[in-house]
């Protein structure tokens, strides 16, 4: 009290109001710390502080063999665990010049898209929760449960499956797999209408998200904001289209693009992507060819010396694996270019001049996963 009274008026105005959002904050979905400078309710600038759950995955990779690396990639972006596995497997297969069986490609693609749907479902849930609509959270998680059950039946795990392995997948799909995926798609197509009713069309939601957190296409490219966040700015950055891998070259799907560049458009891109993912799954699920679930691999996988780079489209954006190999069974250097880490960089830029409530909405619309940032 006393200090304020003694302060000269001009001094008080200069003083910025610093407030910490995180590490223990409901809206950061983990342990991200944002040091926000406020003026009233307006965000002047913010500084992200990450590293609270940095586990040094890249360092650990240097000690692990390639099959062992995969279980670590699960733990980067735990919501698109399967896609992360897929990236490493693709890289290893590319380096060894192995052609995986068609069946594997089908399974991997379907699994990838299921991952994308469940990731977006969880994102939708937490987006609703961040905006204060707590019911969304439960609806999203409720429907996500079906995908987790499908996974559990086939891979044995609900969350961090480690299902991919270099050359193929760990186990063949469960006999019930196709039936259950069909059931899921049928159910979810109904449920997603509820999503639209309760949040997408809601006037409060529209006002909260439209015109908030404008990220122009140029900025998106310069900041490397990929994935649905980048596509919400009209940047066609879908690796599934640019450098198709697995079955993506052969299925028909639209790259969802929107041009409003705001939180709403990022939201709508993800909602549309769930439809597209279901579309992809529907094209593949009945046509999984018979065959082996894995290519013949040597017991010890050694990558020829050289440098390899693999891009895949994870649920949050472009996930790249960069490996420098010296011919050993462990990678010499393994770098993951994770989408959340890169997308975090733009948060300061697009949330300036917005309100605290907008900051929460923007953060949610970028769909940051903290372990993906910290690795």
């Amino acid at each position: 009290m006393k200090e304020i009274i003694n302060l000269p008026v001009s001094k008080i105005e200069e003083e910025e109001y610093h407030i910490n959002m995180g590490p223990q904050h409901p809206s950061t979905h983990g342990v991200l710390r944002l040091l926000v400078s406020l003026q009233g309710e307006i965000v002047k600038s913010l500084k992200p502080h990450c590293g609270y759950i940095h586990r040094g995955i890249e360092k650990m990779c240097e000690k692990d063999t390639y099959p062992q690396v995969i279980h670590l990639t699960d733990r980067m972006d735990y919501l698109s665990a399967h896609i992360n596995n897929h990236a490493v497997c693709l890289l290893v297969e590319k380096a060894l010049e192995i052609e995986v069986p068609e069946r594997v490609k089908y399974i991997r693609t379907i699994m990838d898209e299921l991952t994308r749907i469940q990731s977006h479902q969880l994102w939708w849930s937490s987006f609703g929760m961040d905006l204060g609509g707590l019911t969304c959270f439960f609806y999203g998680l409720r429907d996500r449960e079906m995908i987790l059950d499908i996974w559990e039946e086939t891979t044995g795990s609900r969350f961090l499956q480690s299902y991919n392995c270099p050359g193929g997948v760990m186990q063949d799909i469960h006999p019930n797999f196709q039936k259950k995926v069909h059931a899921f798609i049928k159910t979810f197509k109904k449920k997603i209408k509820d999503y639209d009713r309760i949040l997408s069309g809601n006037v409060i939601f529209e006002n909260r998200s439209q015109g908030v957190g404008i990220l122009s296409k140029e900025d998106a490219i310069s900041y490397g904001v990929t994935g649905p966040s980048g596509r919400g700015s009209g940047w066609s950055c879908d690796i599934r289209k640019i450098e198709p891998y697995s079955m993506y070259g052969q299925v028909h799907f639209n790259e969802v693009l929107r041009y409003e560049c705001d939180t709403y458009s990022r939201y709508m891109v993800r909602m549309q992507e769930m439809h597209e993912s279901m579309n992809i799954i529907e094209q593949l699920i009945d046509n999984i060819p018979a065959g082996d679930h894995s290519a013949k691999m040597k017991a010890v996988i050694k990558l020829p010396a050289g440098e390899y780079f693999q891009r895949v489209e994870s649920a949050r954006g472009e996930l790249d694996v960069y490996v420098v190999s010296d011919g050993n069974k462990t990678p010499y250097r393994m770098k993951f270019r994770t989408p959340s880490f890169t997308n975090l960089g733009v948060l300061d830029h697009i949330s300036r001049g917005m309100k605290i409530a907008d900051l929460v909405a923007i953060g949610a619309s970028l769909d940051l996963v903290i372990p993906d940032i910290d690795r």
Binding site: E41, G132, T135, F138, R208, A357
Partner: protein, 362 residues
């Protein structure tokens, strides 16, 4: 048509005379007051605990969940268990906080809701104080609660709390207007501010039917504004948990936190009961003029059931709001009030006045 089996006036008189016959008038008054105090205290606690339980169950059902189901059958003792737990919690004090204001804040919040409760008529003759300016009194007293919230936020020496308190101040101060004006619409129709008279006037039809269009508009506006005034979602900016963790009561622990919680639910009960009283006839049964048989059957349903039924329905509506909508932003909140609700309200009052003038109401 009078139907007085549920009239509590004689019951009150009986107690009053009985007490006066056995003791001096002063002591009788004191005893009466003690009885009323204890009754209201119990009522307050029971309604508060029940509402917390009800909200948990209601939101659980809306979210495809079961809700509390561990303590007692269907979890009905969950809130009691929570209350005991909170009572046994340590009260944490924050250094550099303004201790006096920090401690006073829960008092103000509770007292404001308590005093506002005193004017609510539960049934004929069953009300503590029947003011002739009942509505004005309730509006005035219930808005005292914002002082408590402001003090709580300010004294905590916490940035989240301070922002929450400021938001809450701007919010409640704004929505105060709409609450007042929407009630005024009905006062124009009723011509009185006394709750008992207002209820009595709805004997042959609730005001929401009598005043038709303007009354319905006023009811909707009142519902929105009162939801905002009780700091409930989608207007829970003061405690916006995804932005300000817990807003103004971030630093409150144990039973002090419980009091803010309790006061929020009691305020919800209060505005619901006012809405029920002013718009939906309070404890008056539902009557359709001309259907004598139907009306008689309705009369047999006790007024307390009518009253609590209507209140519960409005509380349910408010819960439906909270568990459906995302939260508004502070500027949208104020836009809603100043650019939508307030002009609509002003026009609505004129409309109602015109209706009254032309005798177009029923």
């Amino acid at each position: 048509m009078t139907f007085n089996i549920y009239d509590f006036t004689s019951f009150n008189r009986w107690i009053d005379e009985g007490l006066n016959s056995i003791m001096s008038p002063t002591w009788a008054l004191i005893t009466e007051m003690a009885i009323i105090g204890i009754v209201f205290l119990l009522f307050y606690a029971i309604v508060g605990l029940f509402l917390v339980y009800a909200e948990r169950k209601v939101c659980a059902f809306m979210q495809n969940r079961v809700g509390p189901n561990r303590v007692g059958p269907y979890g009905i003792f969950q809130t009691i268990a929570d209350f005991i737990k909170l009572l046994m919690k340590e009260l944490v004090y924050i250094k550099d906080s303004d201790k006096l204001l920090f401690n006073i804040a829960p008092f103000i919040v509770i007292i404001a809701s308590f005093m506002a409760l005193s004017a609510v008529p539960f049934a004929k003759g069953l009300h503590a104080i029947d003011f002739d300016i009942g509505i004005l009194y309730v509006i005035a007293v219930s808005s005292l609660g914002v002082v408590g919230i402001l003090l709580a936020g300010w004294s905590s020496n916490n940035k989240y709390s301070l922002i929450g308190a400021m938001r809450s101040g701007a919010q409640i101060v704004s929505y105060e207007l709409s609450v007042g004006l929407s009630l005024l619409t009905i006062i124009v129709l009723a011509g009185t501010m006394q709750f008992s008279e207002i209820v009595e006037m709805q004997r042959n039809g609730w005001f929401i039917f009598k005043g038709h269009i303007p009354a319905i508009i006023a009811f909707i506006v009142f519902l929105i504004a009162s939801t905002a005034e009780t700091n409930r979602g989608p207007f829970d900016l003061a405690e916006a948990e995804s932005e300000l963790t817990a807003g103004f009561h971030t630093e409150y622990s144990g039973i002090k936190f419980a009091f803010f919680f309790l006061a929020e639910y009691m305020n919800m009960f209060l505005v619901a009961s006012i809405a029920a009283t002013v718009f939906w006839g309070g404890w008056m049964p539902f009557h359709v003029s001309g259907w004598a048989g139907f009306n008689t059957i309705m009369d047999y349903i006790p007024p307390l059931v009518w009253y609590f039924g209507k209140t519960a329905f409005i509380i349910w509506l408010m819960m439906l709001f909270k568990w459906t909508f995302p939260r508004l932003r502070i500027d949208q909140l104020l836009t809603l009030e100043w650019k939508y609700l307030l002009p609509i309200n002003l026009v609505n009052i004129l409309f109602m006045a015109f209706l009254v003038l032309m005798h177009w109401h029923f």
